[in-house]
Symmetry: C2
Subunit: 135 residues, 2 copies
């Protein structure tokens, strides 16, 4: 058992939006998609079923809260939720707003379109919008 620390690859690929009771809320810096990553701030988690029963209840609530904010802000056609972790072993939950006109539709997003950088003002605006939507 070690203390919780965000995996360096996740730290490199994201910016912090806020912290919730269970999860760090991160924005993945790929402007192709409104793409959040929730990371439960608990040590030594790999798979979704490694969460304690109480933390799993909180995770469900936080997944909903993130999804509903993406719905409100981006009016997507679908929300994709996934805990894969084949590349980065620390448990992290992708929550992605998908549109039928996006770069990967109808496929999953991973490995399809090259990551697209945010313009710095667009990144700032997105963070502000997300934090406001989270209330």
């Amino acid at each position: 058992m070690t203390d919780y620390e965000l995996h360096p690859q996740l730290a490199a690929d994201t910016v912090s939006v806020c912290a919730w009771p269970l999860c760090e809320v991160l924005l993945l810096t790929d402007a192709n998609y409104p793409w959040l990553v929730l990371v439960p701030a608990r040590p030594d988690l790999r798979d979704f079923h490694d969460l304690s029963p109480d933390d799993m209840v909180t995770a469900g609530r936080e997944i909903s809260r993130a999804s509903e904010a993406l719905m409100e802000l981006f009016e997507p056609d679908k929300i994709n939720v996934a805990a894969l972790g084949n590349m980065v072993p620390q448990l992290h939950i992708h929550i992605v707003a998908r549109h039928t006109h996006d770069a990967a539709w109808p496929n999953p997003i991973w490995g399809v379109a090259p990551p697209l950088s945010y313009a710095s003002d667009a990144l700032g605006t997105r963070l502000t919008d997300l934090r406001r939507a989270f209330g």
Copy 2:
């Protein structure tokens, strides 16, 4: 509001393993991967956050139960859990046992390897093993 009915595409791609308090438990008939699909037996669900709070708690429990059975039976390197639904709009949750030697590793499984049919005896054995592991 209509009654719950399994989407015909999911019915075509799977065989039934059993029914739990919330979800139908299905085996996706692609022998490349041990691949379960959980479908909450509620009408008119599309996204994970459409589940009621109570059903979400049950969903977490059933995702864990399915994941732990896959761990026990197949000793995978990783469990992938995902609710995507870009192709089939009815809420369904993929739970896939991943191995570092499987056909898609380390990528997500969707759209990588052509589906591989189960031999009929292998399919029967797999269903028996799953039902036994579910207790």
